[in-house]
């Protein structure tokens, strides 16, 4: 996805190995397109995602970060996604306070059967982030050198 003046949003998606990564695979299997701006990092569980990773992504110039995990109650590790839900609620509100609009961050539950939901979520998230424009709040320009 390219917005006018050549700006391409960079989006990091953390996907849990058991549900969401498989959901992303299913989107691929069904050839459901979503923007190339989304790059997926596999983690064992959404609860593996340290707030540091998200801060790092914004520091390095990411425009949006999305976490995908199993639906509540379906976590492979029983309670991992509950931790994610609580931790991210806290982190995202803090980021919002710092000027990283809450639309740039998201937690979404995608099961292994929801390829269509994965693609739709990524399309929609990408559009939302693109509409917000570049993330400059947390970007560390020293990293660009």
């Amino acid at each position: 996805m390219q917005v006018n003046n050549g700006y391409q949003p960079k989006i990091v998606a953390f996907c849990c190995n058991w549900c969401s990564y498989a959901g992303a695979d299913l989107a691929g299997n069904n050839r459901l397109a979503y923007p190339e701006n989304v790059k997926i990092i596999k983690v064992p569980c959404s609860c593996r995602v340290n707030p540091m990773f998200i801060l790092r992504a914004f520091q390095r110039g990411a425009d949006g970060v999305i976490l995908c995990g199993c639906h509540p109650g379906d976590c492979h590790y029983t309670s991992g996604n509950y931790y994610t839900r609580r931790r991210m609620a806290l982190l995202f509100s803090m980021l919002n306070f710092l000027g990283i609009e809450k639309e740039r961050t998201r937690v979404e539950w995608v099961s292994a059967a929801e390829g269509a939901k994965f693609a739709a979520t990524m399309n929609e998230f990408c559009e939302t982030v693109a509409a917000l424009g570049e993330n400059k709040r947390l970007e560390d320009l020293r990293c660009k050198r």
């Binding site: 190339e36 990092i41 540091m52 029983t78």
Partner: protein, 664 residues
Amino acid sequence: MQRIGVFVCWCGSNIAGTVDVEAVSEALKSEPGVVFSTNYQYMCSQAGQDIIKNAIAEHKLTGIVVCSCSPRMHEATFRKTAAAAGLNPYMVEIANIREQCSWIHKDMATGTEKAIILGKAAVAKVNLNAPLTPGESPVTKRALVIGGGIAGIQTALDIADAGFPVDIVETKPTIGGKMAQLDKTFPTLDCAACILTPKMVDVAQHENIRIFSYSEVVEVGGFVGNFDVKIKKKARYVKEDVCTGCGICTEKCPMKKAPNEFNMGMDNRPAVYIPFAQAVPKVATIDPNYCNMLKNGKCGLCAKVCTAGAIDYTQKDEIIEEKYGAIVAATGFNPISMDKFDEYAYNQSKDVITSLEFERLTNAAGPTAGKLLRPSDGEHPHTIVFVQCVGSRCAACAEKGKEYCSKICCMYTAKHAMLTRDKYPDTDVYVFYIDVRTPGKSFDEFYRRAVEEYGVHYIKGMVGKVSPEGNKLMVQASDLLANKQLHIEADLVVLAAAIEPDKSARPLATMLTASMDTNDFFTEAHPKLRPVESPTAGVFLSGTCQGPKDIPETVSQASAAAAKVIGLLAKDKLTGNPCVAHSDELMCNGCSSCERVCPYGAITYVDKEFRMPDRTTAIRRVASVNTAVCQGCGACTVACPSGAMDLNGFKNAQIMAEVDAICK
């Protein structure tokens, strides 16, 4: 510095159609650590794997990146390839350029650009990979089954038949559980004792099974394959190995006023008792709350009449320590207390009974020798009202009932109604229900027989109030379909009480570090795909401790749990997942944050001696991860405030490197 080889797969035209594979392998050549980069039509084919193997030897590769399909597809394949060439399999990473790239993008330039970035991220990760070796732990080839109802019996028999020793721990003096109390079983109406007691005898005679009756588990330590369990064998004041079960002591005991638990307290038993004729083990037990000898030293009659000399008033509780490889929870259920349901007058009238009491009342070995008589006056009841869902599906009255459906009540009420009409055609039988739920083989046919052949009056609606008037019970109810109020003069009211997990389940779950739901049912490892395992490795679930079930379902689950246990015990060693948490002891400050979030109880604390910078030694409390129990979710790594906890294979640095590569 790693020496990384990059292998870009075409996947025929699946990848090569939208990704310029040549450009990708060329672009990744200049990434740090990469010493070799190539592409091939089918990397997963024998020829493709040979390319990888040869490159490992030729270029002395220490890391591999395969840009191909999803790791869910071929990660295992390429790890095996690496292992065959002498490289640690965990030095292989996959960049998913098919499902996440070529299949979803149409444009060659876009696809190629994204594939390069995904490849770079994988290279960045491999640069930080370290060889991993799965941990191994031995397996104690003995299983523990907690609970001796039909679930525990079936699980124990199946495990024992496979050749592994099993111990059953049962809190009551006999095994058999709730099923032993039942009269007939739906939908075939065979008598419960006729199908259960032979199984109980099988258990008693099986060379691989030991029964610890009148015992309970008091402590569980260790982990999968290596549990250390302490079992308290309560004093029964009868030598189990000497008692012949002749029953003469129970006849002669002068103290005959103890409520008989087996008959739901509807009659009395002596202080020294055998719960029922087919009890296993058939050994007497002295109830210390009622025995005059134990209470005030006056009596001793049973010791005098016992020809075997089995009575021992000085017996003490005994603690048995044993090691187990697997533990099965089969703690079962109980009907909920009716104390809070004043509207049904359960505590006011003896003629308002629960279904389990009704079961005893119709059982040939029950308090009335199988004759259906009113508990209050011993008269034959002519009008019987059954009330379904007493405390079940009770979202609005959660403080006294349960929100869930107890599942078995519709069927046993149909059974009770049918049997009553069959034996006593002169009785009028009413059943009040919210819905009749009969999913199960031959279940709906059974219910329809009750209505159509036996003329049971099924009325949709709930009973509002039961009030005792003289020797009658006035039942006020609503008929929702006819939209009218009903007043029925009943002789007997039977309440289908909701079932709840046994009270021992929660303390047991705490000991096992097994998780429970809000209703105290054990939680399964996965609600659909791992229904007989607890999330805690080595702990398995059998029967109603996991959720309401009828007998066929319980037996299926019991055998399934046994199969899982056999699969575990058949192994000599357990090979773990090497991607487990690891704590840096120098950074750990022993705060317990990680322990609290671990769903598996894999983290414990140890006091360790450390050499301090000033050359003194200090003892510090640090976290220690049991790699056999850790499942590698990584919850602890985020909870750790000092950054000491990290996850092998998904280290903080590795994920950060991927983030950096993607955001560059």
